[in-house]
Amino acid sequence: MFDRSAFWSPPPDWRHARLDGVGIRITASAAPAVWRISGRGLPAALARAGVARAVGPREACDAPVYALRIAPDSALLIGDAAHAPDDADGTVCSALGDGIICIDVTGPAAASLMSLGSEHRFDDPPGGPLESARMLFAGLPVAVMRCGDGWRLHAERPWAPALWHWLAGHIAHCGEGAV
């Protein structure tokens, strides 16, 4: 009676997850390696990892190693094990391993889908220097980055299935009600 297994769709297999719609493609992968770095020494720590600066939700980035601005003194560094930071002067670092799922939303209709999930003006030029990449998208906590012809949504692994199901449920609504 209380078994809700059938109600909840199983999570996708992240190795093969993909959604296609008219003018839109959505793919997913586990982030290779992720760290949360905080502290006054953040810029230097990022520089040591080969990242010039952390980006917000409207700054485009296509590098394989990049950082997302979370707070004025805190960022997510996404890269690979070779770039593992450590606690250096003025910073602390927490490994997040494969706890983040990256979902890429790309294509001409990507902007329409993004507008369904948040009131954020994703298409506008980059905002202020301290704009955080973290926001609620579809009511779920994600960090957003512009990349390629779309956006990359970084979702915590436990929330990633819910985000995926939301994207799957809304891909057909892109363009509906557009004015």
Binding site: R36, S94, G99, E119, G139, P161, A162, E176, G177
Partner: protein, 966 residues
């Protein structure tokens, strides 16, 4: 504007059958006839019709029955002001139980039914209620239906109340919520709104124009006007097209239902099934929401066939429907004469009854062949189920199949009030107008009391940021606001209806005043005037005027009520939109969910996480899993537990401040159980803290409280710590944690080969060690929630399935959350939020020592020393032992002794204790800690149970099982 004359037989007053559709004109498409039915009667309408215009053209006059007295009602208005015509609509798969006939477009095959009638609107068996009207006036329910008690009558009255019925199989679908962010949002596309939108676009701003009707133009669509040399309707359509072509966004069939803080608005777009919600953020709003006509007050002013004059004109001009052939126009202002002239032009026999003695409009009407009775008022109407005539105050009787009424105008200032604007009474115009400006929104046009079309256009241009030179030239009849409501005919021999939706009469208002409900807020609530779903659009101001008259005050002195969202009812389907099913309240997922499904776990939501409740049906699995935990080894997916890192030189100090239990004295590699309190001293959460190193801790908090605990730590970090010396990082998503528990758990851990020395001396309880699993780091903590020897193994989330399968291979059996609940219950381990509530303090659950010994500050410390915290009678954690085999019901209340027993606490958890071999329960009982041995009665839905208060641990109270060897 000229109107085509009617074809066919001469319009001959009472002998004219039914109502007519003009052969040409209007916005309908006569090449697309649409079939529909109303209460089983088949009719034909046209594309472009609303349900209301199609019903009107088909001769349907009785469309509804009133709420209380079941009086027959017809169309009063043509749009959202319509109070009566709410119907049940079925079209295809769509079912709308409360469709507003004046807003719904006609679709082919629509099946309409009247609602709130026992039978149909035409023949309602409950019409007999009107004969008992004198016994059920306003507020009758405060004085009657009391003996022997209200509940005797409640069921019947509830069944009679309400409007449409939602079908059990209803599956209305809403569209996806959309967001839009613009510089200028203009609400209303009449003259002022269109002018504002054009000015805004010209000034380079992004513009959103919102219109309730199916096309832009507002009243320009049916009233006489010439703007920039073209008829107003065409000017509006041309401008609307130009706006869209110029990049403005135009939403029709869309209502602004609310204006909210921070320059935001919510729109409801009526498209498809339930429609769609838009959330708008705008730098500025222009509220060009217009004004609606007021009814007149006289006897039997609610009969079908009584219509607002402007509505009659709209039906004629937009839908080519002639609502009557023998028409009386009752008015006290000039604006009604447009309707009279238009009806006369199509051949209707028209008579104007004007309370005024002489105006230029009268002369123009007489010149058009319209009889004008000056200085006259309507006393009452004739007819039963529809108007057949009127009686004037002088005693004259006039035949009529349509009576139009115009008692003045009411600006629509709802959105202004949503933005906390306070209206003011304008005595000269007899209207409530916006008072002081509100931030972010400008009211223009008729909504702001504009006296002419030219005024409205000028206001709109200015609000849009344009210059005076941008104001278009216009020619239009002057707009006569009509002054305050005329109450002289309101208290005649026949009942005068004020609020048609709630059946409130003028005598009800007088009754309320006699009973001293003289304040407008009291009047509203006592009579329910203005409290129906139309929010009193056509009744509020008339009601205020009657209140003022009865209390010898001016309307301004009588006061005003306010308006709150939504402006119009919004279907739940639109609010839900696409957030249905598993999208409505999504849950976090375990990384190993796939293997749990393979093992046939029953999955349930626990907090915000989907977890295995049991492996197999819970009833069978509980005992099996508990026995496995007590006798062998089990594995539980504990990945939901929080793992919040607290780092930096001040990490220890931060934790000492946030936790009731001091954590700075932990050695690296050691764990400690602790409570975090709220400032009230109540338990906020509990958890286990691991010290990894001098400056790094991991807080493992309750599964459903991770986000809250992270925020709690972060808030206090920011409040009182150097932000460069303390940090909070939630690393919960990184880890998958499997709890391996049971007397045989050490053997399973050995078989897993994590590279950790498992000797109890090297690895004691409440400590942690680092190892490796599948080449990746693994952290193992000896901490137990079952009371057995336990190891919590944390590995990278991507290895969750592999760890589970390996552990199963080497002998661990699955344990679900339900069985875990039973195991921890017989150990007396609390669950925050189950044993505790918003008042439970540490001393209530046996953890009062820190309160006595700590002298350094921590969250909640002062609250723990208040009189309330130290008084006797506080509920305290106890165990409850029962005789027999049946566990006590959770929630059963313990009763005090004596003549009037009351609750002294309740059962919080209850299970069959496999380890204890008997039913076990935990409870929070007043002074429970000092009442061990006392037997109490526990009441649950009328059944009494007996239980004896004991210490809360029923199994292994000394904790020897933690280090048991297999």
């Amino acid at each position: 504007m000229s109107a085509p004359r009617m074809d066919g037989p001469t319009m001959d007053g009472p002998r004219m059958r039914g109502l007519r559709r003009l052969p040409e004109g209007g916005e309908i498409d006569r090449s697309r006839p649409l079939s529909f039915s109303f209460d089983g009667r088949a009719h034909i309408g046209y594309a472009g019709d609303t349900l209301a215009s199609a019903l009107l053209a088909a001769g349907e006059t009785v469309l509804a029955r009133s709420f209380k007295y079941h009086r027959p009602r017809g169309l009063l208005g043509a749009h959202h002001e319509e109070p009566n015509a709410i119907l049940d609509l079925r079209a295809g798969t769509r079912h709308e139980p409360n469709a507003r006939a004046t807003l719904e477009p006609l679709v082919d095959g629509a099946r309409l039914s009247s609602i709130h009638a026992l039978g149909t609107a035409r023949r309602d068996l409950l019409a007999v209620m009107d004969r008992f009207a004198r016994f059920i006036p306003a507020a009758f329910y405060y004085k009657t239906f009391m003996w022997p008690h209200w509940h005797v009558y409640e069921g019947t009255i509830r069944r009679m109340a309400g409007l449409g019925r939602v079908a059990a199989d209803s599956r209305a679908q809403g569209g996806a919520l959309r967001h839009i962010d613009v510089d200028l949002c203009v609400i209303g596309s009449g003259a002022a709104g269109l002018a504002a939108a054009r000015a805004g676009l010209k000034a380079g701003r992004s513009v959103l124009l919102v219109e309730q009707r199916s096309r832009v133009g507002g009243a320009l669509l049916w009233r006489d006007a010439v703007i920039d040399g073209v008829p107003g309707a065409r000017w509006a359509q041309d401008l609307g097209a130009a706006l869209a072509a110029g990049g403005a966004r135009v939403l029709t069939q869309t209502t602004a239902v609310g204006l909210y803080d921070h320059n935001s608005a919510v729109l409801h777009e009526r498209s498809g099934d339930g429609g769609r919600i838009w959330q708008v953020r705008a730098r500025a709003f222009v509220l060009a929401t217009g004004a609606i006509e007021r009814p007149l007050l006289f006897g039997d002013n609610d009969r079908p066939g009584i219509m607002l004059a402007d509505a009659a004109l709209e039906y004629l001009r937009r839908y080519a429907v002639v609502a009557g052939s023998e028409v009386v126009f009752a008015t006290g202002n000039d604006t009604a004469y447009q309707a009279a002239l238009a009806y006369a032009a199509v051949g209707a026999r028209c008579t104007v009854v004007d309370a005024r003695t002489d105006t230029p409009a009268m002369a123009a009407a007489r010149a058009a062949g319209i009889e004008v009775l000056a200085g006259e008022r309507i006393e009452s109407t004739l007819g039963k189920d529809r108007v057949q005539g009127v009686r004037t105050a002088s005693g004259r009787t006039l035949p009529a199949d349509l009576l139009t009424v115009s008692g003045g105008w009411t600006p629509l200032i709802h959105l202004y009030c949503h933005a906390r604007g306070r209206p003011r009474w304008d005595a000269e115009r007899g209207v409530l107008l916006p008072g002081a400006p509100v931030q972010g929104a400008t009211v223009v046009g008729a909504a702001d009391g504009a006296r002419s079309l030219a005024d409205a256009l000028a206001q709109g241009v200015q609000a849009g940021g344009g210059a005076a030179t941008d104001v278009p030239a216009c020619i239009a009849p002057p707009f006569d606001w009509g002054g305050a409501p005329d109450t002289r005919m309101a208290f005649g021999a026949r009942r005068t209806w004020v609020d048609l939706q709630h059946d409130v009469t003028a005598k009800d208002i007088a009754l309320a005043v006699r009973e001293n409900f003289r304040a407008v807020e009291h009047l509203k609530r006592y009579t329910t005037l203005g409290m129906a779903n139309d929010q009193g659009r056509t009744s509020n101001v008339n009601g205020l005027a009657l209140l003022a008259e009865r209390t010898g005050r001016t309307i301004a002195e009588a006061g005003v009520t306010t308006f709150r969202p939504p402006f119009l009812p919004v279907p739940i389907a639109a609010v839900v939109g696409t957030q249905r099913g598993e999208l409505q309240a999504p849950l976090r997922r375990l990384a190993a969910e796939a293997v749990h499904r393979e093992e046939r776990a029953e999955l349930r939501g626990y907090g915000d996480m989907l977890r295995p409740a049991s492996y197999g049906p819970a009833q069978d699995a509980m005992t099996r899993e508990c026995k496995a935990a007590r006798e062998r080894c089990v594995i539980l997916d504990a990945s939901s537990l929080g793992k919040i890192e607290v780092l930096g030189p001040d990490a220890a100090a931060l934790l000492d401040f946030v936790f009731y239990t001091r954590m700075s004295s932990l050695a690296p590699g050691r764990l400690r159980y602790g409570l975090a309190l709220a400032e009230s001293g109540a338990v906020f959460d509990d958890g286990v803290v691991l010290r990894v190193s001098a400056d790094r801790f991991v807080v493992s908090c309750s599964s459903s409280h991770v986000a809250a605990m992270t925020a709690h730590l972060e808030a206090w970090r920011e409040d009182r710590f150097d932000l460069s010396r303390a940090f909070v990082h939630d690393t919960t998503p990184r880890w998958a944690t499997m709890a391996i528990s049971g007397p045989a758990s050490k053997g399973v851990m050995t078989a897993l080969g994590l590279g950790i020395d498992l000797d109890d001396t090297a690895f004691p309880h409440m400590s942690a060690r680092d190892g490796r699993f599948a080449g990746e780091p693994a952290r193992v903590a000896r901490v137990s929630f079952t009371g057995e020897r336990s190891y919590e193994v944390s590995v990278p989330a991507g290895l969750a399935e592999e760890l589970w399968r390996r552990a199963r291979t080497v002998g661990a059996e699955p344990l679900g959350v339900e069985a875990l609940g039973a195991l921890r219950c017989e150990k007396g381990f609390i669950l925050v939020g189950v044993e505790t509530d918003g008042e439970t303090m540490p001393q209530d659950i046996g953890m009062g020592r820190a309160r006595e010994v700590r002298t350094d500050p921590y969250v909640g410390d002062r609250s723990l020393h208040t009189p309330a915290a130290q008084r006797s009678g506080r509920r305290q954690l106890v165990g409850v032992a029962v005789a027999g085999d049946e566990p006590l019901p959770v929630g059963a209340h313990a009763l005090s002794r004596g003549a009037r027993p009351h609750s002294v606490g309740w059962i919080t958890s209850s299970h069959m204790g496999v380890g204890a071999g008997k039913p076990v329960a935990l409870a929070m009982i007043e002074d429970g800690a000092s009442r061990h041995g006392e037997t109490l009665e526990f009441e649950h839905f009328g059944t009494l149970h007996r239980g004896t208060l004991v210490a809360p641990c029923f199994y292994d109270p000394k904790g020897t099982r933690l280090d048991v060897r297999p």
